[in-house]
């Protein structure tokens, strides 16, 4: 093995690049899929939390909604309030020991990260919905939209735009936090790095590589999401539509300087 730092890094990469690649790919698969599922859970919970209640609604609806919200609140508080690593052990090893449920390692991984993301996203989505000017809801109601239509066409598209930075945040956090899944045996980036470094006692070098890979993954994701946000905002300009194609609306006419040429 080479004696200098860069030489050792090169040596490790040369011999273990396949392990690092597998680890990075697994990390990204878990992070992206779980963030997406987590967003779906978050939107569902956030929507239930913001259903308006009216004095005139029947007591059954009120009761059911109250109960559902109570359960959802417990879910959010429990999963936000306990460490994901503890949850991973509790759910993966606990479910097989106590209930005899043998879930596959991968199912457990997706389940744990998704449900965690969901708990955070629920509050984010609720905040996103509350951040939209109540005037938007009133405008929608005033043309006869019901609550579902108002949410679907007016509020959620605007709320989604507002919480995009937070979704990006969650993705970045998930890319990093999947490392806790190594405790239940998922072969993600931290797990592979540990195996590589353990074999040759090269912790410093192997984890240097891992950190660079983690940073590239998170940085690329956050830039991509930023570009997506820009696209959601749409163009800053708009075209004036004139029915009479011969008429120039003022400000649209481009001075070409041809008249001077003619002289």
């Amino acid at each position: 093995m080479p004696q200098d730092f860069l030489g050792r890094i090169w040596y490790i990469l040369d011999n273990n690049w396949m392990s690092f690649l597998t680890g990075a790919v697994n990390t990204m698969i878990i992070a992206i899929v779980s963030t997406l599922i987590g967003c779906v859970i978050g939107f569902a919970v956030g929507l239930v939390q913001t259903i308006p209640l009216n004095k005139k609604d029947n007591p059954l609806k009120k009761g059911v909604l109250y109960l559902v919200r109570l359960i959802l609140n417990i879910y959010v508080e429990v999963f936000r309030g306990t460490p994901m690593m503890a949850q991973a052990m509790f759910i993966y090893f606990g479910s097989s020991a106590v209930f005899g449920i043998n879930m596959s390692m991968w199912f457990a991984a997706f389940f744990i990260v998704s449900i965690n993301t969901g708990a955070y996203m629920a509050e984010t989505v609720r905040g996103g919905i509350l951040s939209i000017d109540p005037g938007q809801t009133e405008g929608a109601k005033a043309i006869g939209m019901n609550h579902v239509q108002t949410m679907t066409y007016v509020i959620l598209p605007q709320a989604l735009r507002n919480i995009m930075p937070q979704i990006g945040n969650n993705l970045v956090i998930n890319i990093k936090d999947t490392c806790v899944l190594s405790t239940i045996g998922i072969v993600e980036l931290t797990y592979t790095t540990r195996s590589v470094s353990g074999a040759l006692y090269t912790y410093f070098e192997a984890f240097s590589i891992a950190m660079v890979i983690y940073f590239i993954l998170t940085f690329a994701c956050s830039r991509l999401l930023r570009m997506w946000e820009k696209r959601m905002d749409g163009s800053d300009n708009y075209d004036l539509a004139t029915t009479d194609t011969l008429a120039h609306t003022s400000g649209l006419y481009k001075y070409t300087g041809r008249e001077e040429e003619r002289d």
Partner: protein
């Protein structure tokens, strides 16, 4: 005159907590009427208008729309609102849609019209308010007066039987006030039934067929514009108008 009564308010009151905002309001509007509601800020004008559209639930009393009490339980509020348009002081255009989509969405989703048909009628109403060239703009790219004209077109596109205006010009500068009032004047002349909460006294005097003066949550005086503005009977009306007409 025996025109059909569109809306009738019967003993309507509204309280927020212990605060009584509206007290025992009674009045009615017939088809083709242009009713202006005037009064000092805080006199309950806007709350009254919002009660008519059920954006606020009246505490007691009834609102009859073509003889049907719409404050009863089990009334389809959305269906009622699709027949009664509303124009807001703060415009409330949908920020995530273009001008054209703002005027089409209600027709497509609520009235279940075909897209092409909705587009055609949206364009004709935008034409009417002078905003047809701006169909591709987003609300954030428009001036206040332009936004309000689009908001009027959006309300008109639902072809409402009654159109409510909640201080439509209060957030605008004098020039924009003019362009919005011109549109409203045109609608009044075409015979659209309107209830307008406004501080534009000249407009109320010249355009309305009926004026309601509100003070401290009650209707202090109502009548023809000529009577209210030139021969007010209630001293409160005289005092209120003198403040406006002085300048």
């Amino acid at each position: 005159m025996s025109r059909e009564e569109v809306i009738r308010i019967h003993h309507l009151s509204k309280t927020f907590g212990k605060n009584v905002v509206l007290r025992d309001i009674d009045f009615s509007v017939c088809a083709g009427d242009v009713t202006c509601i005037i009064g000092a800020s805080g006199s309950g004008k806007s709350t009254l208008l919002r009660c008519l559209n059920l954006l606020e639930t009246p505490t007691t009393g009834e609102v009859y729309f073509h003889g049907q009490d719409i404050t009863k339980n089990g009334i389809d509020e959305a269906a009622y609102r699709s027949k009664v348009g509303m124009v807001f002081q703060s415009f409330n255009l949908f920020n995530n849609m273009t001008v054209l989509d703002n005027c089409m969405i209600g027709q497509i989703k609520v009235l279940k019209k075909k897209k092409a048909q909705a587009r055609e009628s949206a364009l004709s109403f935008l034409e009417k308010v002078g905003m047809a060239p701006y169909i591709n703009a987003k609300p954030r790219q428009l001036s206040g007066g332009q936004k309000q004209r689009v908001a009027i077109a959006r309300a008109l596109a639902m072809e409402p039987e009654l159109l409510l205006f909640d201080e439509p010009t209060s957030a605008l500068d004098p020039q924009m006030v003019g362009e919005v009032l011109d549109v409203m004047k045109k609608l009044a002349q075409e015979g659209l039934t309107m209830i307008i909460v406004t501080h534009e006294m000249a407009f109320a005097r010249d355009v309305s067929s009926h004026v309601v003066f509100m003070s401290d949550g009650v209707i202090a005086e109502e009548g023809k514009p000529d009577q209210i503005f030139n021969h007010p009977r209630n001293p409160k009306t005289t005092e209120f108008l003198s403040r406006f007409m002085r300048g």
